[in-house]
């Protein structure tokens, strides 16, 4: 392993290149501060860049994210490390943090790659495409997705057979298997944690049968099916390629549920499900969409109106708790649920069931600092020490939190939270 000391020291180290980290970085750099973004993934833009359209305005997510992402990646005051992780950060003194960063090899010289995709065509390996949430495959030599930034190939070394086919076709000879993991030592004056969230894994709820029944998908899988860079080019059941007709949503999958260890509400699932329902009615005019809910939480600006709009379009809302889901021979799913309005147990048949999975903390952030320095709240999100007066403050002076690292929230709230974090970071830097 190479240990590189990156001599330039930065004003701010932003951990996470999603929409919150990006927004914080832009605010900082536009006021003259030098920023380093560390992104675990191969491209920046986080989960937002993978979404279809966003509630309640229904503008396309990529159209909002991509210009921000390209502004971030182009700005001379921002340095970005993708495919990199912070191993640890030590607070040395006021205005002085030292971080160890591990950069895993991409096996591609990023500056030389033109994104021509010839390597992708040549690669004989096919593995599940994580950016399409496993609905289809991708190659071991691949560009993450068409609007990725940087739009540069990478080699998935775990699945690569080292056949050399990609290297042979690469016109710029930018594939380089001699790359090794690099370690950087970085200095920064302040840190912004924007490590985002994880999605609940419905395999934890066997009674729903996710994984077992192929026509049960997660909301993120449906999101991909609705996005412009979608896997099937239309909406299909992954179990047999049928165009679905009767679509069901199960809200609160993995949220408000102590049995899976997550008692809190995820704040976004009601709205993204209502949004998907509206998009589905647009894409499949004959489809019949039912949302099974406990409470509809359309609380933000324009949300209640958006919910009303969905009802007006004919989306069915059933106040009901799902007991279990079973599969018929034709791949259809039988939902057994307690209809709360009528207080009886009912059954309903659907073609496809979408589990509206909740928001879980990304626990990576706790490990960034030496033992216990960065405090977490009871739900394992980053603890806000002064949530009412200074929501971005954490238990470490000079370290601020932005976006869903501190709790579930939607995109506007993430952006405002990032604004707050960058604002506090700027004050911290200016005041000394």
């Amino acid at each position: 392993m190479h240990g590189k000391i990156l001599n330039t020291s930065f004003d701010a180290l932003v951990i996470g290149g999603g929409i919150a980290g990006g927004e914080a970085a832009l605010n900082l750099v536009n006021n003259g501060f030098k920023v380093l973004i560390i992104e675990k993934d191969l491209s920046i833009g986080g989960k937002m860049i993978l979404l279809s359209k966003v509630f309640p305005t229904l503008d396309c997510s990529a159209c909002i994210t991509t210009p921000k992402v390209s502004e971030i990646s182009r700005h001379p005051g921002i340095t970005i490390f993708t495919g990199s992780e912070v191993r640890k950060i030590i607070r040395k003194a006021e205005n002085s943090f030292e971080a160890e960063v591990i950069k895993t090899p991409r096996y591609v010289i990023a500056e030389d790659c033109t994104g021509c995709q010839l390597c992708e065509q040549a690669c004989p390996v096919n593995v599940h495409d994580q950016y399409q949430y496993n609905l289809i495959g991708r190659k071991a030599a691949y560009i993450p997705f068409s609007i990725a930034s940087p739009r540069v190939a990478a080699i998935d070394i775990e699945n690569c057979t080292l056949c050399g086919a990609c290297e042979k076709v690469c016109p710029t000879k930018c594939i380089d298997f001699t790359q090794e993991t690099e370690e950087y030592h970085i200095k920064a004056k302040t840190v912004v944690i924007a490590t985002g969230f994880n999605l609940f894994d419905p395999l934890m709820m066997p009674r729903y049968g996710y994984g077992l029944y192929k026509n049960i998908i997660t909301s993120m899988q449906m999101e991909r099916q609705l996005a412009p860079t979608r896997p099937f080019n239309t909406i299909l059941r992954p179990g047999d390629g049928k165009v679905p007709d009767k679509i069901a949503y199960v809200l609160c999958t993995g949220s408000r549920d102590v049995t899976v260890g997550n008692p809190i509400c995820s704040q976004i699932c009601c709205m993204y499900s209502i949004k998907q329902a509206q998009l589905l009615m647009g894409a499949l005019p004959m489809a019949d969409v039912t949302i099974y809910y406990i409470n509809i939480r359309s609380f933000g600006k324009g949300f209640e109106e958006f919910y009303d709009q969905a009802k007006g379009m004919g989306v069915n809302f059933i106040k009901g708790k799902i007991g279990r889901i079973s599969e018929k021979e034709n791949g259809n799913l039988i939902m057994r649920y307690e209809d709360i309005n009528e207080n009886i147990v009912k059954e309903a048949e659907h073609d496809i069931v979408v589990l509206s999975v909740g928001v879980l903390p990304n626990t990576d952030s706790a490990a960034l600092f030496p033992d216990g320095e960065l405090k977490l709240d009871p739900f394992n999100f980053v603890y806000q020490t002064d949530p009412l007066a200074s929501p971005a403050k954490t238990s470490i002076k000079g370290v601020f939190v932005a976006g869903t690292a501190s709790g579930p929230m939607d995109i506007p709230d993430s952006i405002l939270s990032a604004g707050a974090a960058s604002s506090e970071a700027m004050s911290y830097l200016i005041r000394k």
Partner: protein, 642 residues
Amino acid sequence: MNKKIGVYLCHCGGNISDYVDVEKVRKSIENEEGVFLAKTTMFACGDANQKEMVDDIKKNELDGVVVASCSPKLHLMTFRAVTERADLNKYHYVHANIREQASWAHSDDKAGATEKAIHIVKSAIAKVRLAESLNPFKIPSKKAVAIIGGGVAGMRAAIELSNMGCPVTLIEREHFIGGRVAQWDVLFTTNETGKELVTKLYNDLVKRDNITLFTGAEVISNKGCIGDFKLKIKIAPRYINEQCNQGNLQKAINACPVDVPDEFNFNITNRKAIYHNFPSEYPQYPVIDIKHCTRCGECEKICESVDFNQKEEIIEIQVGSVLMATGFDSYTPADGEFGYNRFDNVITLPQFKRIIELSDKKLIFKGKEVKNIAYIYCVGSRQIEGENKYCSRYCCTSAIYSAIQTKKIFDNIYNYHFTRGIRTYGKQEVLYGESLKDGDIYLQSYENDPPVVFREHDKTIVKINDILTAKREMSVEADLVVLVTGMVPRADNSVASLFKIPKGRDKFFNEIHMKLRPVETVIDGITICGACQGPKNIMESVNSALSAAAKSFSYVSKGELELEPIIAQIDKDLCTWCGACIEACPFDAIKMEKQDTKDIAVINNSVCKGCGMCLPVCPTDAINLIAYSNSEIESMIDALAG
């Protein structure tokens, strides 16, 4: 004139191409005069396409660029930046909006939408053919920000701007600072009281010499624009000297014979004409409510600090940016709405919160001990009949938290919640769980069948058809009915009209774009935050306040701003000097000047705002607006008509 124009037509990931036949548009315009290349792209704003545009412009030496995509409000700046990166003056870029004004507006008529898109792109090409290089003006920007509203959001933004080294004028309409939060007792999540939070912020605020605070102050006029707003502020007198002796003042308050409803306690108690809301309130000396003062002179006799000679003051300030944090009003139920103003034990949630704070040991209302409390949710929000369709976001949590507090403080309390579905989003959910565990009863009404409050003998009954028990009709006899009222926009929002801040469908202030530019308004230099923009809890308000502070700071931090060089120009030969343009100009940007043999009108470039009001009044058509000249507009009309 023979321009080499590049045209990029965006699919917008289906937003456009689902309704507009983008390829057909491309074919229809590729042979237009001057068009050198015409391409379609999935995302024009994407990084890859931007790179390609830069390469295209450089390689082919393009000197005109059109992107047909979404509204220029979103991406005009993005693509101007692209041309600049390719060393092409950004005014050689013209934006064509074929999403909001074609694909989306006419998704019911694909052929019509496509036809319209073709015309829109052609007119953009017509305009770019005539485009000329321009350089932006630089104007000085006063490094100072005015914050309107001294609630938690305004105070917090002031502190942050002060931290960044930016002078702040904080203007509060009331005589005391702290806004709504000062009225609340214990707050959810931190268990500090509203007073403590406000005190904490105030103590920090007054330490700083770059913050000027005015209370009892209102902005009465606004002239100027971004970089240089000139505000007139009217400051009402307190009629009490600042160096007052607290001891005698309290006696003076006691001596005041006036008795008026106390708004701070939402009129559940009365106060004197000389008053403060609570003893430690800021500023820490009382005020005389001159509207209700009878000038009896009792207070003056007791206290030398009372001074009826104080006069209203008007001062002027100059700032580069204005941050609006004017907050909300609590919804006031209509007479008879769930028994409000009909039955004396029906009150609002804010009144209830004041009662809890003012009660001691026993919860007493109008002389009677309260045991059964019925909470009716969504009063003034999510209205079935009324105008307020929105959810007020904070009230479920606030009501449940108050209910829990009530049980903690007083004995024998039974809480009945008449809800329309509880919305304790996020971590607030644990509170709902706690309340259920506490034994609170939750009932839920059907969407169009709200609960009913009525009197039977001397008892107040709340009745509901309850979803949760499958349509069972349930009744509760309540000692107190608490209407969980939502947030509404300020009734008196005269300050907003001074600044022309646009409002949304919900009548709250509207941001430019909820996700891209969440604290900016269409009026340059004016930012918004807190609940004046829509219902928010304290944390959310403060997050937006800090974001707005950063944004306002960015307008003033560099001391100068770049302005668009779009100004009026006068054709000397055509001008015969009549003075009509001077009269039309709202900014005094035009002067008469002697030149050679005749008098002509001359534009002062740094004062002209480019509105174009002088254009149509000129009898000899001697005035043109840069980038909107006769030839440009008329060639666009030709293209649209074709």
